[in-house]
């Protein structure tokens, strides 16, 4: 009598490393900060904020006060409410572009690493050639020629520019997982490709994917700031963190607050994203080199 036990339910096995680096309170502080920014961006209309476009010429370049929490800019607009509204652009560009990048890069990378063979060879060499093309120059070039500019176009261009990078990360991660015993076991049991890809591989590359996604969002948000300086982001008077910092250059000597607050908002947001991403990566024990 054979004693081979085959489990009735093919429960997918998510591999858990034995020793995990603790996440720590700072991690949750960062998560809270990101959540707060999200809430602010979503409910900016409902919150008791001043109109970010209203120009109050009786209070120009006023420092922080109770009435204007962060002061006003050179045409009397409330800096605090502009920062809250500005977070919408940054969050939309950051997460929107990464949604496109991961939406295309993840299935391609997983399929290539799982199938191998000719599909993998062609796909990978194609992506590596695209990677050689400097993404930032490509983004700027396309955005400067593809007029008129809009938030959606910016998201699309950055999203597509990020595909090769996402592809490489996901493919490498999938390659590392797909030789594991439980994948082989699933194949032996006759699981369908679809099941292996979605139930076995995807949960196991998800931690790497998520931490890379967060760091990617941070990079894209910084890129939006860069584009704002070049006049290639959303057009003023729509506030974005990049736009605000850019506008502050001319009044830097008179009103440094105009530069300091949006810069602080941007840096804290990026720092939180990077920190969460980095902690998650350590937590799931993925070496930096592999990314």
């Amino acid at each position: 009598m054979s004693n081979v036990i085959i489990p009735e339910e093919q429960a997918s096995i998510v591999e858990r490393p034995e020793k995990k680096a603790p996440l720590g309170p700072l991690f949750w502080l960062c998560v809270g900060w990101i959540a707060l920014n999200f809430l602010g961006a979503i409910f900016a209309n409902v919150l008791p904020l001043q109109n970010p476009l209203y120009q109050d010429y009786s209070s120009i370049n006023v420092g922080p006060s109770l009435h204007h929490l962060f002061g006003t800019d050179d045409i009397g607009r409330d800096i605090f409410s502009r920062i809250v509204y500005g977070s919408r652009v940054s969050i939309a560009v950051g997460f929107g572009a990464m949604l496109i990048g991961f939406g295309i890069g993840t299935p391609l990378g997983m399929l290539a690493a799982y199938r191998r063979g000719r599909f993998d060879t062609i796909m990978t060499s194609f992506m590596y050639i695209l990677l050689a093309f400097p993404a930032i120059i490509a983004t700027i070039a396309v955005l400067s020629f593809w007029t008129p500019r809009s938030l959606l176009k910016i998201i699309i261009v950055i999203g597509f520019a990020s595909v090769p990078l996402v592809y490489r990360v996901i493919r490498t991660a999938t390659l590392a997982v797909s030789t594991k015993d439980y994948i082989v076991a699933a194949k032996v049991q006759g699981a369908t490709d679809r099941r292996i890809l979605l139930k076995e591989l995807l949960p196991n590359i998800a931690p790497i994917g998520v931490s890379f996604l967060l760091i990617g969002v941070a990079t894209v948000i910084a890129l939006e700031g860069t584009l704002a300086f070049l006049g290639l982001s959303v057009s003023p008077p729509t506030p974005s963190w990049g736009n605000m910092i850019n506008e502050s250059r001319t009044v830097l000597q008179v009103n440094p607050w105009l530069a300091i607050f949006p810069s602080l908002a941007l840096c804290l947001f990026l720092l939180s994203l990077n920190f969460i991403g980095d902690r998650l990566r350590n937590h799931f024990d993925v070496a930096e080199v592999k990314l």
């Binding site: 093309f133 400097p134 930032i136 700027i140 400067s144 300086f229 006049g231 990077n274 080199v289």
Partner: protein, 316 residues
């Protein structure tokens, strides 16, 4: 080794080909009649005909590409219809400024990152390592445009050091000391970004290398800490550092423009942005092409250097 180099050169040619197709096609993203958009509605028929001939617009698109490519290979990237100057000579005037900026910033970045990474790797998770780690992590989250604004605010405005502010660029040939002063802020800004990358890469690689058996062997022979670090650990770890440097320097060539733009330093990046704002499309196209090829060339050169440092790579 030779086979490896030949394969890399073939790949390089392939990539440059694709870049040229991409740069060429940019012009066709413009909506409407290309000559009107590039030269403006008031362009004379003679100028329109000239552009028509340069771009070969009367022919099918693949032929247009080869006409353009033929011109590019002869060093003719067209003539700007805004400044009436040849695109190639504009680029030739701006490029040395970028190279100088990158050169200074890399010296600064390596000179700080290498000793600090070695110090950190000696005692991972020690106090020094943690301070360096937290500092580099914070710097990672400060984009260059914020760094440059802070530097201008404190060094140029508060301290009032000459030639460091906006629009104070002095060319190297006219006064080299003033030139170095005006290059200080942009170079420092780029150096900070590079430092973070190099420090993090070298630190983690050194920690891994220091656990290898040949290091234990060297230690048991009584070789000094300093010699182990520089002679035994640094060479294998420098492969990772060079890899990061190749990507990073390419990124600086393509990404140094914000710094140039903010300080009005007339390098390639500044010229590119000015060209975008003036709708000088031929100049944009030329710079995109030259910078992209430059980035690919830099990566190629670094691959080559890495091979010399670690010959095992080409044998794989």
């Amino acid at each position: 080794m030779i086979r490896y180099v030949i394969r890399r050169i073939l790949m390089l040619i392939g990539i440059v080909f694709i870049i040229s197709v991409g740069s060429f096609y940019l012009i066709h993203l413009l909506p409407g009649n290309i000559t009107t958009i590039i030269e403006g509605p008031g362009a004379s028929p003679a100028n329109q005909a000239k552009l028509y001939k340069l771009l070969g617009l009367d022919r099918p698109i693949y032929e247009q590409y080869f006409v353009w490519l033929g011109n590019v290979l002869h060093g003719n990237l067209g003539t700007s219809f805004i400044s009436q100057e040849s695109v190639a000579s504009t680029i030739r005037a701006a490029l040395p400024i970028d190279l100088e900026m990158i050169f200074i910033s890399q010296i600064l970045a390596f000179a700080t990152a290498i000793p600090m990474a070695m110090r950190s790797a000696r005692k991972p998770d020690g106090i020094v390592d943690r301070i360096f780690g937290a500092g580099s992590f914070t710097l990672l989250s400060v984009p260059p445009f914020i760094v440059i604004i802070l530097l201008v605010l404190f060094i140029s405005i508060k301290l009032g050091i000459p030639h460091t502010g906006v629009s104070t660029y002095v060319s190297f040939s006219s006064d080299w000391i003033a030139n170095l002063e005006s290059m200080a802020l942009p170079s420092i800004t780029l150096a900070i970004g590079s430092f973070v990358v190099y420090f993090r890469v070298l630190r983690s690689d050194l920690i891994a290398t220091l656990q290898e058996e040949f290091i234990t062997m060297a230690r048991s022979k009584g070789i000094s800490q300093r010699r182990i670090m520089w002679r035994h650990a640094f060479r294998p770890s420098s492969v990772a550092l060079l890899g990061a440097a190749g990507v990073n320097i390419g990124g600086l060539l393509a990404g140094g423009f914000v710094v140039q733009f903010l300080l009005a330093i007339p390098g390639l990046g500044y010229t590119l942005i000015a060209a975008i704002n003036q709708n000088d499309y031929l100049l944009v196209q030329g710079i995109v092409f030259v910078v992209s090829v430059g980035v690919v060339l830099i990566n190629f050169i670094f691959d080559f250097i890495i091979n010399i440092v670690d010959p095992r790579i080409s044998r794989e």
